[in-house]
Symmetry: C2
Subunit: 435 residues, 2 copies
Amino acid sequence: MSDARPLAVAVAGLGTVGAEVVRLVRAAADLHAQRCGRRLEVVGVSARDRTKDRGVDLGGIDWYDDAVTLARSAPAEVIIELIGGSDGVARAVCHEAIAQGRHLVTANKALLAHHGAELVWAAEAKGVALGYEAAVAGGIPAVKGMREGLAANRLDRVVGILNGTCNFILTGMRESGRDFATELATAKARGYAEADPTMDIDGIDAAHKLVLLAQLAFNGAIAFDSVHVEGIRGLATTDIGYAEELGYRIKLLGIAERMGEGVCLRVHPCMVPRDLPISTVEGVLNAVVAYGHEVGEVMMVGQGAGAGPTASAVVADLLDIARGCRVPPLGAPVQCLAPLTHVPIADRQGAYYLRLMVLDRPGVIAEIAAHMRDQGISLEGFIQRARSPDVAVPVVMTTHETTESAMQAALGEIAALPVVLEAPVLIRIETLNHQ
Amino acid sequence: MSDARPLAVAVAGLGTVGAEVVRLVRAAADLHAQRCGRRLEVVGVSARDRTKDRGVDLGGIDWYDDAVTLARSAPAEVIIELIGGSDGVARAVCHEAIAQGRHLVTANKALLAHHGAELVWAAEAKGVALGYEAAVAGGIPAVKGMREGLAANRLDRVVGILNGTCNFILTGMRESGRDFATELATAKARGYAEADPTMDIDGIDAAHKLVLLAQLAFNGAIAFDSVHVEGIRGLATTDIGYAEELGYRIKLLGIAERMGEGVCLRVHPCMVPRDLPISTVEGVLNAVVAYGHEVGEVMMVGQGAGAGPTASAVVADLLDIARGCRVPPLGAPVQCLAPLTHVPIADRQGAYYLRLMVLDRPGVIAEIAAHMRDQGISLEGFIQRARSPDVAVPVVMTTHETTESAMQAALGEIAALPVVLEAPVLIRIETLNHQ
């Protein structure tokens, strides 16, 4: 081993991931030393409650009550930020670590999605590493895979199942036929959803990760506010059933793609052809699919959350630092990054699924179809099975490729029709063909 | 960019991959320079026929008639070996490159499977890189993903669909119902199989790649001869149909796993539960599934061959070299590698599919079942549909978990029965559960 000096690391935040990082670093010390030429050593930790039993031996590790003090004073080359949250202490810890010339490893997608640019600038100015493999898709080596494994390619699109909670709920709804609320309760009971599941089910967590993937793919900075975000809260079992019938599966996808001179980022439920590999990614698994101009499509699948997979990613970053492998966090130095033009979802081109609850009267379909025609939208098919005079019945329509703006214009007119009794359900169909 | 000096590379072998590497390095020079801080520059090439039109501009690049001379004399920091073959010129080029203190990048799985150890020792002694991302699973960043992305893990198993030709033929047989010879002809017509397809369809190419993956996974050297190899040449459409009926899909898998204190490597057709993600990897796609003790299962899917994907992987290695990222080729320095005990396939434990062509006489099933029972094998189910006195009819049996040695012993006895008219067909059922 070329360098016998251990790599001293300090961990800020001892939740399940933090505790697992400490455990893994200690339990697999020999294996890791063999692979990177240096021993990893946890020299400091910080958390709120010193008395809590975390199921991990902290003997011989300095305790810091204050995480910023740890980042400032712990005798560590690397600070691992596992506190979470897009601002506050986590942000202060990261800045302090960099200011002190220490490498930074973090699993904090919210922080990076909102304030990644300032952290990357600071890290590059100081010449320290900023590792965030754990912030995207948990244990899947997606950051390394895209940034280094596919570095020969111009990447034109990245698509992901980026939130295991949502994928678990969607899989459960499809398999059991139960509704969203029931499956959400199951996810909570299994520890796959938090007490307040907003960040997950409203698509925000997936959008954080999508921003990080898109910045890597397109080598540019992307504002979180430019992502179009819809979650799965409103999804009805009815539509999952129709999706099956039509040969699709409903997935919450994050999609980032080049469109003309710009890039479009969006997170929303999609109908995906059932026989595509990404459709078979079920339960809490995550997936990332990148499209490179030279390599074509590459998909990576694995556990997107949990203590083990996240710790695996954190320690992978530590091993890179120990080896001296340094790659710019965004795949190219920040001063080289291209300014990226934001393309709104209104410019999306694709097919749509539409479900309306209508009064079953003569001429209703004709009236709806006329509004679609007036926007230049052509129907691919429709299903109206139930017949029940003067009660709302579902009418399902799928369109040929059109634009989002045309579809939204037609939808506004259709929603206002007196025979349409509930808010229309619109789900985008994503065939994920190469452009 | 920290280092303005270009990275000079020389390419030995200008087949479709070599020509594509030259084209890609030149066409994406700005992108690559941005990502690695240096320009890549092809300064020398060698191939047999200088006059051949390869559809790529070789202007300004020195031509060498002899590849070893190129490796010795081209003013290059990196030699890219794309000649192929496990011995001869390719081997000489690689040794010469290393001896001259040049980094080596190769897509040559046969060479590395047979002589990898000597090359890795030589490269580490000289302090040069040995990149072989392109030798395993084409454009999928499998080497980097396992060696670096999952480096925090003890890897216990790696499973792959490692030959696109075989996967294309198997997919075609299943979808069309046509036989092996017909689908092989289709593969040849589409450019997916060579004129002499032996290396592909007999499983040898997959075994080469499996050795490379297993060495990475287990951090030890593995002799190619220790791999149990069966190809797909004998596969009958009948068995593909039965697999479907039983809920399986037939895939040629490479499987490397820890068993007790040793490791077992094997390539053979497998029946895999149809709803596993790996079963949905169809056509020419490849897949690599690694099982890490901390991360669980990670799957990577993509194009396993072809000029573009292979060039993508070659250039990824060049970019790592340009950045100065150096990881031991086998994941740990050779002097740290563990001696690995070879476990023969006779020790495999698992379920089996067996198809016999038997004379439909009373007592036949009882006789066969008795031989299974005598070896301690319990039947999970059987299918005998056709009834036709004095003509051979198929009898299909599946077993509960047993050992390969018991199964082979029973099979030997069963094959010798006068009522069994053809050589029995045995296919291993792989559920790919975690151990």
